[in-house]
């Protein structure tokens, strides 16, 4: 019973991960083609690499006790090798759980009209929604068609599609109408209570990764509290969003304060990848800078809190010099 509920919890979190993975692989092929000539995309291997490293792998946080039925803890007697094995397996599982929900371009609205029959004008007051319930068709390619009372036969909008696919092919955890937590006022309350993770998990389950509501929720994320999301799978998305908006100062400062120098360096490198025309990127390329020099260049040209970053870099160098004695 205990194992069943545990596996059920895992399956629940895997479910949303699996669906998201499927969408990501489908869109990766189109994204990689265009990345050669434009700035780096979210799905590039280099970018993904950097983002996973920044996210970190805090096992204690990833396997935090989720609210579930109380079961007595299990104790096992292990040798050292077995313990290492178990930790390694846990790390693999954690990597899987930390799979980032993809950042996709917002889906374009559907406006296809299949036929216009004015002769059906007085037909009735309700619309007819026709769905194809063939099991082998992927949800993105399903035919969902609406016949309006005016007689026009059009394809269903994205909201209608999501709702109706949930009616006929219900996904666990998803509601037909989005729950009121996703309204602006409620989101603010929840963020004040520091429950970012729960909301974001619910958001991933409820909405498709390229829907407008998903993006809205992700953007309202509060910027001061990076620690909450540090070892979760949303950190990469958050970092990407900040880098795109050129607002990485807060995050950099936070990293430097918690002595994560390597992460800070990676973040600046990501910034240079995404904005290759910016001054810091050009200077860095000219000087072929690495590590702390990158940070200094960034602090010089781009950031608003130059003083703080330079000071932090200096203290780090001093401590390194002191510790090496």
């Amino acid at each position: 019973m205990a194992t069943f509920s545990f596996t059920r919890c895992l399956v629940r979190s895997y479910f949303c991960v699996k669906c998201v993975d499927h969408v990501q692989t489908r869109l990766q092929t189109t994204a990689s083609r265009s990345s050669k000539y434009s700035k780096s995309q979210f799905t590039d291997t280099e970018v993904q690499d950097i983002l996973t490293k920044i996210t970190g792998l805090d096992l204690k946080k990833v396997f935090q006790p989720i609210r579930q039925q109380l079961t007595p803890p299990k104790y096992k007697l292990m040798t050292d090798t077995e313990l290492e094995e178990a930790v390694r397996k846990a790390e693999e599982q954690a990597k899987h759980l930390l799979k980032m929900p993809p950042v996709l371009p917002e889906r374009k609205p559907v406006n296809d009209v299949l036929s216009e029959d004015q002769m059906l004008e007085g037909m009735g007051t309700a619309k007819y929604v026709f769905t194809d319930i063939n099991f082998n068709v992927p949800h993105r390619e399903r035919f969902i068609v609406v016949r309006e009372p005016s007689g026009t036969l059009r394809k269903a909008t994205w909201n209608e599609r999501d709702r109706i696919i949930q009616v006929y092919f219900p996904k666990e955890g998803r509601k037909i109408t989005p729950p009121p937590i996703f309204k602006e006022e409620n989101l603010r309350v929840v963020f004040e209570q520091d429950r970012h993770e729960d909301v974001l998990n619910q958001c991933v389950v409820q909405f498709e990764p390229d829907s407008a509501e998903f993006k809205n929720v992700m953007e309202i994320d509060v910027h001061g509290k990076y620690d909450l999301l540090r070892s979760t799978r949303f950190f990469g998305g958050l970092a990407w969003h900040l880098v795109n908006g050129r607002r990485i100062d807060g995050l950099l400062v936070d990293m430097l304060q918690s002595d994560l120098m390597q992460d800070a360096v990676r973040l600046v490198r990501l910034f240079n990848l995404v904005h290759p025309q910016s001054e810091s990127a050009q200077h860095a390329q000219r000087q072929q800078a690495t590590d702390l020099d990158l940070l200094k260049i960034y602090a010089q040209y781009e950031s608003n809190r130059a003083g703080f970053i330079e000071l932090a870099v200096q203290t780090y160098e001093q401590t390194k010099a002191l510790s090496s004695f």
Binding site: M119, T125, A126
Partner: protein, 162 residues
């Protein structure tokens, strides 16, 4: 002689009804044991029709492939969809079709009943059913006459008020 032949007939039909029914269109016999000796049975055929379910004052139809002679709401070969005649909160009547399987059954020679044909016409799968158009026209005409009547009534009332 006649007895032997009828016994053979009975046995053959007995076997056929109790063997697994294949998915070919022509069913051999629904045996009514009382009158098998005298009547000649016509073959049945597969239909795609609406089977009623739901509760009192709350109908719900399943779109179903079944043999012609079977009861409307009981045994069917395959469910091909559903139709909810009452509109929901968003003023939508939800209809589901499994087009692949409908294509298969029609290829096997299944007939569709009128309401199913109308729904498929509205969906765009079939051409529009002539009765849909006729009903729409009738409603438009009725709405027009209603309007004319209301206008006349208003005029009469206005005249009385003056």
């Amino acid at each position: 002689m006649y007895l032997i032949r009828s016994c053979m007939v009975f046995y053959k039909y007995f076997l056929l009804t109790y063997s697994l029914l294949s998915s070919t269109e022509y069913l051999s016999v629904m045996v009514h044991l009382s009158s098998f000796l005298l009547k000649k049975y016509h073959g049945g055929h597969v239909v795609i029709r609406l089977a009623l379910g739901g509760a009192t004052n709350r109908p719900f139809y399943r779109i179903v492939a079944a043999y012609n002679k079977w009861a409307r709401d009981s045994k069917y070969i395959e469910q091909l969809g559903s139709y909810d005649p009452l509109p929901n909160i968003h003023n939508e009547k939800l209809v589901a079709f499994n087009y692949e399987r409908i294509k298969y059954w029609i290829a096997c020679g299944a007939h569709t009943t009128k309401p199913v044909a109308k729904l498929l016409g509205l969906a765009g799968f079939f051409p529009l059913h002539p009765m849909t158009i006729t009903e729409a026209e009738r409603r438009q005409k009725a709405a027009l006459t209603e309007e004319v009547k209301m206008d006349r009534q208003e005029q009469v009332e206005q005249k009385e008020a003056l």
